[in-house]
Symmetry: C3
Subunit: 513 residues, 3 copies
């Protein structure tokens, strides 16, 4: 039946329907043809078959892919770009499987790779296809990026929640069900749906194959895998093939647009208030104002990304990930997909801000109290798991170089000194809250066996998870509102006094004082 | 005096000042002229007179209208479009009043229609004009849309608040004034200004003619109606002519831009956190990220709206209203102006999520306890007023077809199964809060005669109105932050423990336990 | 060494790298050359030298400046524009220092002006340069704007916080540090970093020269001033030369883009919820919806700014600052840089909404109770410091004229009458909260010596600073969500009942009642 459809519609008709956009530059184009869009590369015969049906079955993603660079270049062509302009990191064409080299990077090239390594592989039409494309597939052409990402906290985002007993308890407590029985409130474990909706929505689920099902369609019967934890695009997703991460979390399928990945709305899928108000603080900042006001004049998909001409003010990607050069061609920052690797301090308090961890697998950290936390409840950092002062200094110099593309040296110097002060001060505010909640524990007013479930404990959590974090993000990026009123110092100071009042209200005469 | 002005400025000069933009395609244009914008149709003589003065009196709206499709086409021309591309739903030209057929849809065509049916009609210059254009006016050319809308919850948004004794009490309580007398707090009815600012700002006011006033201007004296509840663009506005709704709520006057109506900022006028965080959750979602990143490349005003080529990721309109087709021309979803009609479940808890009501006039619902609510306080749905399981299944299949334009069947299947779980779980969390507030009522700690005014009752309201709703919207559209921290599960679990603590603090020794 | 660099790169190469954008119109261009971008004016030799190094040292800001109007015109050319189209307010070219007249407004023209008056001036290469450009520098070409701004509340934003003992106490209390000693919470003064991050981030710091430092670079050693309170772009910044304000707060350096200043993201750097939700309310409003949906079709940098053709719906700038004309060329509103001068009422409650102050230096106000507040705690306005009813009426008529560009007279008439009602009603809600907190003070449950630090006092503050303000902004601009649920009436009514409950819980048997 597929053959009939192919004859009926034809790929020529398809291309007529999906009007191509001009290919962004970056790859060499024969001079004579420079004025017109380059010819599309040929698709593999397998991909042609995929598209023959899917143009009518799932037309949206076919249109997406046809607009992608993957549809308009081949790995071999991509490798001919100048090193700094290259969007592919495999060393040379002969390091690629032969069938991939001269064809567009189509459906089959990704969904049909190494079928035996993917437990979700099914017989689909005449092919072995896996729905869940993983970093192992992307690695064929993009090994450097996948390798960098694999070492990041993002790649371990699932495990850092699920395998850290304390954080696992935290997430299970925040999302727990409840019922009232005999007049009393009883806590229940979170529903599976809740886990998918909440923490693991961003951290990533563990996707496993729990069975198969058959779907009957106009085109015949198809076997499909039944997947747990699916759909999910969490950044630390555990895939059926055992790999970690979803490149689509940021490089949204199936256009895989660099523009999208570099725009802050992508990071804003997860890095939101009240716990990590990175998107909102950036939006409030002068940088955010400039980008949001003038984004239509930026060249969003240039590689490398030139400060001042391609873009005027940074998005998240500029400071944390992208390959940046000056208009004169000097490299300002190398590309990285280990998103914490340009940072020296981790603003996100657990419960205190601390030097960045050495390894992305933070669930392996143990502090001096034996807890799986980068700092103790009293604030002592788990030094052996965290980067050295020397490394911190090196990273700070690297970030300063990015600032210096637009700012004289006095600006980052004073800015980061201020940030140091804010980290110390917000850590002190966290310590004060910790000492108050410990009074509640010591006096039997709350039960420390689960430190995250009672109202006074939630106030303690709010102190570090919402208020101290907001102040630090506000300080780091310049968002006075978030540092002041919106979950900022207003909260930090109010919360301590409310904790004090809570304790005072429960003081028995025998407590003295 | 108007004649003098006309002579002085002239309409030719006007058109020179207001530079026209090219008319979007969709209507047949003679092939030879295809490259240039079509000639403007002629205005009616009445509209010409309106514009002669109003180009200087209210130039902004004249400019708006001149940029509109209404200014560049006539009903007769609009009817010549292919059925799927048609933006007018009257059956044929001869169903239209003769004077409207061959002129632009100008000031007089709307503000001068059926003057006797509009109590706000005044003598204005030489014409009978009514300021409040209503669905009855729009219906002349757009009968199908007005009819669909008339059955929707939106059309009844005013009555569903004002005629439902419980919701009326809720809205009057939330917005009540107060004063302290003799040391005690006394509650006062809401001010009229408050009602206009708050609930009825979105739900729509009842606009009535309370008198006339005369305005003296350079162009002479003019009589104007004095209107109560005006200005207002609420979606369920009761108009002076008795009709319900304001088409301008979404199709903003006077450009009536389809682009504006389809962009999520329109829906975001009302569907905002903390009660209905639809806009914010969408913005956080992958869909929102894609649209916000790439909106400049979309064709926002195409009719029909083609998935994959006109737009790549959905806004509110795509899933809830627009006529969608595939690039191959197959209809994916019919247009509807009954905005709940593609939905099977109503996420918005009153106090529990429940099947969509059959009728938009939800104030007519009575549950098993006799309350005007779609569910009882214990969670039992008022089944006879709600759609059947069969109808729910049909609607779910229709929405799945929209998803399937871009997603394989496993995605909507698993996604909606997850949503089912989340609805059950958040309803359970609402039940627990209800059982706790009922303890407060039973123990005389709060007075259930008004269930919305006391602090412990507000905590109960927060449970369903803010937290459970946020979780459901977060689940339905993929917004983990809203499902977790931002009014989500963090709130659901914290709130229950705070309610429990509130009760415990007020337990008298005699209460036992 | 600089000379060598100059030879090596050359300014011709520079201009090749930084591709120019077409200059927006507004200045006369010789007819023959109208189709091509005008030739760049020459730079001063000093600016040429600056750029020779800085194109590699800080390439981002060089690119920014090259894209600016400052780089493409000279003061003399700018003066040749028609009066309404003029972007420079010096009376005539001969009022300008001769060296500035015929060159681009480059690095040296601003950073090298009147070096002796700038305490931050250093020897830099062969020049005397000051990093902190101030309104005194901008005033050379833009005296009218600087003069207007100098009288505004914004120009006094630092002093209005720092020199008002009550507000100073408020800001120091909100941002105070804390530690627990001997089990008790002790309050500490705010850290310097905190002051920079929070209130003074928007209000502006006092920038002083505390010393010098030497930086060794590849280009040699450079002396730089060490500045306190730097970097800062707060709108009321006290500069080393004693002037007030930072023009860069809105006219972001170094492109000084009118587009950016007119877009609401600029105002949204500071005017955010929960205290001043101007940006968010506007975003929710119909006006915000229209601008956000159609901003790409606006002409953002036209002078004057024409209602209906350059823009269709207002941003902050349109109503509060810009020179507006009708398509016919009639002036609708004069330009002002005294941003409160079009307003009659100050919505921002301190603690009550009140008529606008006469002077921007609000710290000089004393109310009938001797407090430095525009109203007493009981609500009596400090009339002699506030504008008269006659002046209020004049301003209201001026704003009505702006509304009337798009709305018939009934709309602003009813809209502002509603706003009057809302001001009265929210002031009453503030009074009720004040009377409750005064009960706490009277009964010794709280200490009024610092009225901003205890939990019950924070609830009082929330009433006027968050909830009443949100309702008023929501009313003024049409944001029902902010007037209702999002810090609006839900908060106003809930908060009073919680204050009442707080008092009741602490009622001793002896208290009676």
């Amino acid at each position: 039946m597929r053959r009939i459809l192919l004859a009926a519609t034809g790929l020529a008709a398809l291309f007529a329907v999906f009007a191509p956009r001009a290919l962004p530059d970056g790859e060499p184009v024969p001079p004579a043809a420079a004025a017109e869009p380059p010819a599309r590369p040929r698709m593999s015969p397998q991909t042609e078959e995929c598209i023959t049906c899917h143009q009518s079955v799932t037309p949206g993603i076919v249109a997406d892919w046809l607009a992608s660079r993957h549809a308009r270049t081949t790995p071999e062509t991509a490798l001919r770009a100048e090193p700094l302009a290259r969007r592919i990191s495999v060393a040379a064409a002969d390091a690629l499987p032969e069938p991939l080299r001269k064809v567009a990077v189509g459906c089959f090239e990704c969904h049909g790779q190494a079928p035996e390594s993917h437990p979700d592989t099914v017989e689909h039409a005449d092919f072995k296809i896996h729905p869940v494309v993983t970093p192992n597939d992307c690695k064929t052409c993009h090994p450097v990026e996948v390798e960098q990402f694999a070492g990041s906290k993002m790649a371990h985002a699932h495990d850092n929640l699920a395998k850290n007993p304390l954080f696992h308890s935290l997430s299970e407590t925040l999302t727990a069900g409840a019922e009232v029985k005999g007049g009393a409130l009883h806590v229940l474990p979170p529903a599976d749906a809740t886990r998918l909706d909440t923490c693991y929505g961003c951290h990533g689920t563990a996707v496993t194959v729990s069975g198969k099902r058959t779907v009957s369609t106009d085109l015949g019967d198809f076997e499909l895998p039944v997947l747990t934890g699916w759909p999910n695009q969490g950044v630390g997703r555990i895939n059926p093939d055992g790999s970690r991460g979803s490149c689509a979390a940021c490089h949204t399928r199936h256009e895989f647009s660099l523009e999208v990945a570099r725009k802050p709305f992508t990071c804003g899928q997860c890095h939101l208030e009240p716990d990590t108000p990175a998107f909102e603080v950036w939006q409030e900042s002068k940088h955010g104002n400039l980008v949001l006001s003038q984004q239509q004049g930026y060249t969003w998909d240039a590689v490398p990304w030139t400060v001042g001409t391609d873009f005027r003010a940074p998005t998240c990607a500029a400071c944390h990930a992208s390959l940046l050069v000056s208009p004169g061609g000097e490299t300002i920052a190398e590309r990285t997909h280990d998103y914490g690797s340009r940072l020296w301090v981790r603003l996100f308090g657990l419960p205190y801000a601390h030097p960045q961890p050495k390894s992305g697998a933070t669930h392996e950290i143990r502090n001096a109290d034996g807890q799986p936390l980068p700092t103790t409840f009293a604030g002592a950092p788990a030094t052996s798991f965290l980067i050295s002062e020397k490394e911190a200094k090196r990273r700070r110099a690297g970030m300063t170089k990015i600032c210096a593309a637009c700012h004289g040296s006095s600006v980052p110097l004073a800015h980061f000194a201020k940030l140091d002060g804010t980290i110390a001060e917000t850590n002190r505010m966290t310590l004060a809250a910790t000492q108050l909640v410990e009074q509640a524990w010591a006096r039997g007013l709350a039960d420390r066996s689960n430190p995250f479930d009672e109202p006074i404990e939630r106030k303690w959590m709010r102190q570090w998870l919402f208020y101290a974090n907001s102040v630090r993000y506000g300080s780091a990026m310049g968002g006075p509102d978030y540092a002041t009123f919106r979950n900022g110092w207003f909260g930090l100071t109010e919360n301590l006094r409310e904790m004090e009042e809570w304790l005072a209200l429960r003081r028995k005469p025998a407590d003295g004082k």
